[in-house]
Structure formats: C-alpha cells, structure tokens
C-alpha cells in the first residue's frame, strides 16, 4: 500500500502547477475565453511539447506509459486554474477511445496526431432525449455496400466546437434503448453533411450540438467492434468522469484556499471575519470536504483500470456522487462567505462556482450516479 507519487509524477505535478501559477492567471484565462476561438492554440502546442498530451498513453501508442494517476495530476492542476483547453475532450475522452478501441491505422494517424497537439477530438454521444443514458441512441448508421450513412443529432458535446474529428455513437442494430447494436464511428468534423452549432457552456468553454445528415463513412471509421460500442463508450466516459473528478478537486481546493485567505483579511465590525467561530467551523467543513473528496478521487483513479467492470463502474459512480455533493457544498459556501463580491463576474470565485456546477451535472448528475451505484451494488 503506497499513496506517494513517483519522482516522475512529482515532476509533472510541479510542472503543471507552475504553468498554471505563472502563465494561466485569472486575467489570462478571461482573455482566452473572450477570443473567438475560446481557447489558446499556442498553449495547446506547448502542452504537446511538454509531453502532457501523451502522458497517459502506452509507449507503443506514442505516449509515456502513464495512467489514471498521471491524468489526475494534470487535471487537478488544470482545475486549480480552470484551464479551458480541451484536455478532457481531446486527450481523455477522444484519446482513450482510440487507445482502447482504435485500429492500428487510427492509432498511428489520429492518436499520434493528438499527442503531437495537431488534432483535436470530441466524443459525441448525448442526444436530446437521452439525458445521461449512454445506451439511448437514436442516431442511425445505415449500411449500404461498404459504407455507413450517419443521420441524427448529438447535443452538448464537450469540446465539440473545436474538434477536428468526432467519435460518434450510432445505432447499427437493436432498439433505441438497447446496449447492443451501438457502434462508434470516427467522423471528420468537416465531412459533408456534418453541421456544428457551437455555443458557450456556463464555464466559458465551448460546446456544440452536432447534426449529421447522410454523412458517409467507411468501415475503417469504426472505433472498436461493430455493434459492441456500448462497453467501450462506457469505459471511455468513466475515464472522463475520473479525470473530471480530479479537476473538481483542483477547483474545490482553490475555492477553499481563496476563501480561507479572504476570511483572514476581510474585516467587518472591526475584526477579521475569520475570527468568528461560525466562519471557522464552516472553513473546517470545507477543508474536510476537499480532503475526503481527494480520498475519493484517489480511490477512483486506482480502480479505473480494474478488469472487474462492476468494480470500475461502482468506483466511478461513488466518486461522482461524493465529489458532486461535496463540491456543490464548497462552491455554495465559498460564494456565501465572500458575500456580494462572490456573486460577480469580476472575481474568480463565481467562475469556479459555475465550473463546479457544470461538473455536478457532467456525464450524469449526482442522482443518476447514485442510482447507478445502487444498481451495481444490489
């Protein structure tokens, strides 16, 4: 049993934390999200050069052979500065889909290009009616000859506005709700018939709805096995949740640290408000929320690669529920304790609040995952 980081991991951690501290302050971030693009392509190149985009992939896929712990280290640090660059969409979701299910050609051409910072990905599965259910897929992929023709609309796609290629779930057989019969396809975002409607998400990043009308792809666009895409998608989304949980820890901790500093400085009635016992106990509660959540993120990362699928899914849902509840608490408390200034655009507190609000619903709300956990535990 060992909860310490390897020396390589410590180096990565220091590197990413230093980057956020020195090159990604709140003002810089505001400028980035105000640009047309909404993220900084130069920084993305820099991430690639530093090796951050390949860290979690195997050496034969062109990566550095790391794992979930390494991803978490990066995501937590990114969380502390609310980094908007599409690490989750491109590296964690898209990258993992290819690493786990891609053909040798897809890996060589696309994953390699992802690691080099040249290609951006997104995984598009949600539909208007599907809410959080991965198996609810109305988008169809009809086979004609050697080709598949895709029709349907995907909504609230993380990083969908930026993606060069999109991994899309579509139905190749079975009922709309069935797990069997779902296939993942790698689709070029500029392909004929693809239309991307992009918009801001509440954290300042960009999302998109992606409609497909008679989009034609070959069998070589299939990621994973025909009709067997559900299990792969489920695993990919689980890896996304795990990474997002780590990001949330970074955000919670930033809120805690900033609130702690604020109550020590802010004076009312002639004394620092941090001298009021009620405030003190609430800070302690925030601290406990951060630390217990960190325990859960570690648990999750350790079990993410488990070959026992039930164990993996339980771990992921448990972390999502627990960190969801605790991050909501931290976010609400941080705002309340800051008072008026906490509910403005001007201060970073409100932005962390929004980002954590988004986290709570992302890839399944707290309630959704509580039920998923219970189903798996019976």
């Amino acid at each position: 049993m060992d909860f310490s980081l390897s020396s390589e991991q410590k180096l990565i951690k220091d590197g990413v934390e230093k980057f956020v501290r020195n090159e990604y302050d709140f003002e810089t971030r505001n400028k980035i999200i105000a640009t047309e693009d909404g993220f900084d392509r130069a920084l993305w190149k820099q991430f690639a050069e530093l090796g951050w985009l390949g860290i979690s992939f195997s050496e034969e896929d062109g990566g550095f052979g790391g794992g979930a712990i390494d991803t978490n280290i990066i995501m937590e640090a990114f969380g502390s500065g609310m980094v908007v660059e599409p690490y989750l969409a491109t590296v964690v979701l898209g990258g993992n889909a290819l690493a786990l299910g891609g053909t040798p050609t897809q890996k060589e051409e696309v994953l390699g290009s992802v690691i080099a910072g040249e290609t951006l990905l997104a995984v598009a599965y949600a539909e208007t009616q599907s809410r959080f259910q991965l198996s609810d897929v109305a988008t169809t992929a009809a086979k004609s000859g050697e080709q598949y023709s895709l029709n349907g609309e995907k909504v609230v796609v993380y990083g969908g506005a930026w993606a060069d290629k999109v991994i899309v779930s579509a139905r190749t057989s079975g009922d709309q709700m069935s797990e069997a019969g779902i296939t993942l396809f790698l689709v070029d975002a500029k392909a004929s018939g693809v239309s991307v409607t992009s918009y801001q998400s509440m954290d300042g990043a960009r999302m998109a709805n992606i409609a497909m009308k008679n989009v034609t792809v070959g069998a070589d666009a299939i990621v994973g096995q025909l009709d067997q895409g559900y299990a792969l998608l489920d695993q990919v989304v689980d890896s996304g949740i795990s990474a997002l949980c780590a990001e949330a820890i970074g955000e919670m901790n930033a809120l805690f640290q900033k609130t702690l500093a604020f109550v020590k400085e802010r004076e009312q009635f002639g004394v620092a408000i941090g001298s009021f016992q009620t405030i003190q106990h609430r800070l302690v509660d925030m601290f406990m929320a951060v630390e217990s959540s960190r325990s859960m993120a570690i648990m999750n990362a350790l079990k993410l690669s488990s070959t026992d699928v039930t164990e993996r899914k339980k771990a992921v849902s448990a972390a999502k529920v627990y960190i969801g509840q605790n991050s909501r608490h931290c976010a609400q408390e941080a705002v309340q304790l800051h008072g008026g200034i906490g509910v403005t655009e001007e201060l970073d507190i409100g932005h962390y609040f929004r980002r954590l609000t988004l986290f709570c619903g992302a890839f399944g709300s707290t309630n959704h995952h509580l039920k998923r956990f219970a189903d798996l535990s019976d």
């Binding site: 009616q129 609810d136 801001q200 009312q268 705002v335 309340q336 655009e345």
Partner: protein
C-alpha cells in the same frame, strides 16, 4: 382559529384574478415563467399597466394614493399576482422609499415624490452598501458635508440594483464623524443625473447586468432632499429593512415556481418516461412541496400578526432565511431537471428547451438572495441577540 376568507375577501380575490387573466400580456408571462431577463422598457410598461389599474402601490394607504387594503387583501393580491404568473416588478420606490417618506418625509417631499412613484414615473435605486462595509452597514463612509443650502457628497455605493435604470436614488450618507457610528448617518434623496455621478456596471454571476457601483464626486444635493433629521438615517434604515425582509421571502412566487417545476416534471421526459417517474425526483419534489407549506403557514402567522396591528418583528428574519433557502433549493431543482441542458449558457431555443435555458442563470443569481437584504448570518445574529437574548 381558521384560514377562511370572508365573502368580501372572496369577491376581492375573484376581481384580482379576473384582472390578471385579462391584463397580463402573454410575453410577460412567458418571460417570467422561464426566468428570462426583462429590459427596462419591458419592466416600466408592465408596471404602468399595474399602476393604471391601481395595482402598483399595493401596500400604501388611501391618503397617499394607495388602495388602503388590509393585510389579508394584500396577501390575496400577492398570491393571485404570483399565481397568474405576473412578475412583481422592480419597485424599490413602492416598497422601500414610499413607506419611509410617509413616515419621515416633509409635506413637500410627499407631494413631489409619492404621486410619481404611484404612476411609475420615477425609477428609484437604493444607495446603502459600500465596498468594505458588507454586512456591517453602519460603518459606511460616503460623506455629505453641508455647504450653504447644499450637501456636497463624496464617496461610493456598491451593489446598487438597477442603478443604471434609475433617475433617483435614496441614499445613506455620513453627516457626522464625531459621534457613535450609527448616529452620524443621514438619509438623503439624490438626482442620478446630477453632475459628479458615475455609474459603473457590475456583472453578476448569471452574466447579466443588474448591479452597479455608483461614484459620487462633489455631487451637490439640495438640503431639502434630506429625509428626517440629520443623524436619523440609521433609524430610517432599520425601519426599512424590516419591511424589505418579508418581501424578500417571496413565498407566493416560490409557490408558482414550484408548480411550474412540478408541471415540467410531468411533461419533460428522460429515457422515454416523464421525469417524475424517477422515485428520487418524485420524493424531492414532495419534500419541496412540504417545505413550501411550512413556509406558507409561517407567512400566514406573520400576516396575522401584521393584521392584528403588530409590526413585523425579528420573526421576519426567519421568514427571510427560510424563504430565500427555498428560492435557492427550487432553482437547484430546476437545474437538476434540466439535465445536460443545464450547461448551456446564453443560448436560444434552437439549442435547448426554453424552460431550461435560464435554469443555471437563475441558480447562479439566487446565490445572492442569502447575501443581500441582510445575509443569513446577519439574520441569525439578530435573532440570537434580539429574540433569544444570547450575547
């Protein structure tokens, strides 16, 4: 003990209900229902409609142009207004300044301002909070120095709601630095178009412009604009805050919001079934309904006190605390129900259903309701000291 209305009250209820049915524009109702923001013109237009029907300065006595309703009538009106889906309007002049002028104003002030408030011709904003003061209102620093027949005002006010819409401002200023903090405060009326006033927007966490910081640089205000005596400002402010609290609780609006949400839970689907078939959500909705019932009956009890001629006391703090908690938890419920659509920001109906477009904006914005009007913490301090005798 009973909760029955008299025959006259039932008739009154019917009259109000009919009026709203006939006069509330569909677009106003819809905007209010989905929580979309109103422009200044939209707000004024709706308030003028209310005003023409005699339904604007509802809490005012007849002698000042109000309807002179009983507490029960006011309650009925507000319930019907909310149930009809009509917004309450941004009426600081009506709820806050009006009662102050009636109690403390000169005849001239009454004659000048009250009719214009009644007809919705002025937009008043409130100049209370200052940067750094927060809940410690009495430490305010904005100075008003008498120079001949005018006060010269320097300083800054913050969190000025719709200050960018307002043409007038009622303001707390410091007129004496040498006495106990509270005794050096005065209440004064300021023309927002006066020279030396600079209104700068503060964008709220919902991405909208509701609030402002107002800077006063040698702003000259006639001495006759003082309300009450010099140094009486703190007394007036406290008088006013008590009035504000019961309003902020917003029980009637929460009831409407709740019934909209419940309807949504029945009509919106997930995995092919109405949302409410999810047992967890169903019970959460039941729990909110129960909490609303408790709030409503606590409101009744306060109302009965008011009707019996007792001023709303520190109990109104409870109503404020519980009422704002309810507003927040209902907004959480809407976000919960929105599912994926909760992430969408400033988008339109091509991207997400209208009912959920403003869900997170509201959730974000309502974080403020436990902060303004005396934060929850301050309310609890007040109750601990005033009601429980804890020191």
């Amino acid at each position: 003990m009973n909760i029955d209305y008299t025959k006259e009250e039932l008739e009154f209820q019917q009259e109000v209900r009919t009026w709203f049915k006939e006069n509330l524009p569909e677009d106003v109702k819809r905007k209010h229902q989905i929580g979309a923001p109103f422009s200044k013109d939209e707000t004024v237009a709706w308030q003028k409609t209310l005003s023409k029907a005699g339904y604007f300065v509802v809490g005012w006595p007849e002698e000042h142009g109000g309807p002179g309703w009983t507490a029960t009538q006011r309650y009925i009106f507000d319930s019907e207004r909310a149930a009809a889906g009509a917004p309450v309007g941004m009426s600081m002049g009506v709820i806050m300044l009006g009662p102050v002028l009636m109690a403390f104003g000169t005849q001239e002030q009454k004659d000048l301002y009250l009719p214009r408030i009644k007809d919705c011709d002025d937009w008043w904003c409130q100049g209370y909070s200052e940067p750094g003061a927060g809940s410690d209102l009495a430490s305010l620093k904005t100075q008003a120095v008498l120079d001949g027949d005018e006060y010269v005002i320097n300083g800054t006010k913050i969190w000025t709601t719709y200050g960018h819409h307002a043409n007038l401002c009622f303001c707390l200023v410091r007129t004496d630095n040498d006495c106990k903090q509270q005794l050096g405060i005065s209440f004064i009326l300021i023309d927002m178009e006066a020279e030396g006033i600079d209104v700068r927007p503060i964008i709220s966490i919902d991405g909208e412009h509701h609030l402002n910081q107002v800077f006063f640089d040698d702003v000259r205000v006639p001495k006759k604009n003082l309300v009450g005596a010099e140094g009486q400002g703190w007394t007036i402010a406290k008088y006013l805050l008590t009035h504000e609290r019961t309003t902020i609780a917003g029980v009637a609006d929460s009831k409407l919001n709740f019934s909209n949400l419940k309807e949504l839970a029945k009509t919106q689907t997930a995995n092919g079934a109405p949302l409410i078939e999810d047992e967890q959500l169903r019970l959460k909705i039941a729990e909110e309904e129960i909490k609303l019932l408790a709030l409503e009956y606590t409101n009744f009890r306060t109302l009965a006190d008011t009707a019996a001629g007792r001023a709303p006391g520190p109990e109104s703090s409870l109503l404020k605390v519980k009422g704002t908690e309810t507003q927040q938890s209902l907004s959480e419920l809407r976000v919960e129900m929105a599912g994926n659509y909760a992430y969408v920001w400033k988008a339109d109906e091509t991207v997400a259903p209208a009912e959920f477009l403003h869900a997170t904006e509201q959730y974000n914005f309502l974080r403020a309701c436990t902060i303004y009007g005396g934060s929850t913490e301050v309310q609890k301090n007040v109750v601990a000291k005033m009601l429980l005798g804890l020191k």
